[in-house]
Symmetry: C2
Subunit: 81 residues, 2 copies
């Protein structure tokens, strides 16, 4: 079994209003010195069998096209265990 973790974040140059809201809320609740907050999505995908070869390529393609929007988002993908 392979566990694939895909993190999806807005590109740095795209304004992140959710992150900005969290930044403000943290400050109001007493957390000082919060320089920046970015909010992203995380997908944890459990697969039967291993992830290698063409299957890994397909997973990477789908992470970039289905799980994230390549116009405004970046993603990272890693395989655990």
């Amino acid at each position: 079994m392979a566990r694939v973790v895909v993190d999806v974040f807005l590109k740095p140059e795209i304004l992140d209003p959710q992150g900005r809201a969290v930044q403000g809320a943290l400050g109001r609740l007493g957390m000082e010195g919060v320089r920046d907050v970015r909010q992203g999505k995380q997908f944890v995908i459990d697969l039967e069998g291993d992830l290698a070869g063409d299957r890994a390529k397909l997973m990477e393609k789908l992470a970039g096209e289905l799980l994230s929007n390549p116009v405004i988002e970046d993603f990272t993908m890693r395989v655990e265990a």
Copy 2:
């Protein structure tokens, strides 16, 4: 500077309809053997200074009360660099 990463996921016993939708879509797009998908949120928080002592306790409290809903969600928090 400290970077805090908080991952927030629905508790295992809570149905995750977004994850279920992604699971179905991955299958339709040719990814076979997808056993489970869970979709969560990830917050990347850049702080001035270090995170230790009372400040770390406050951050952990806010991760559990502001960034996640303790009734239906679990969170993990880690400090990078």
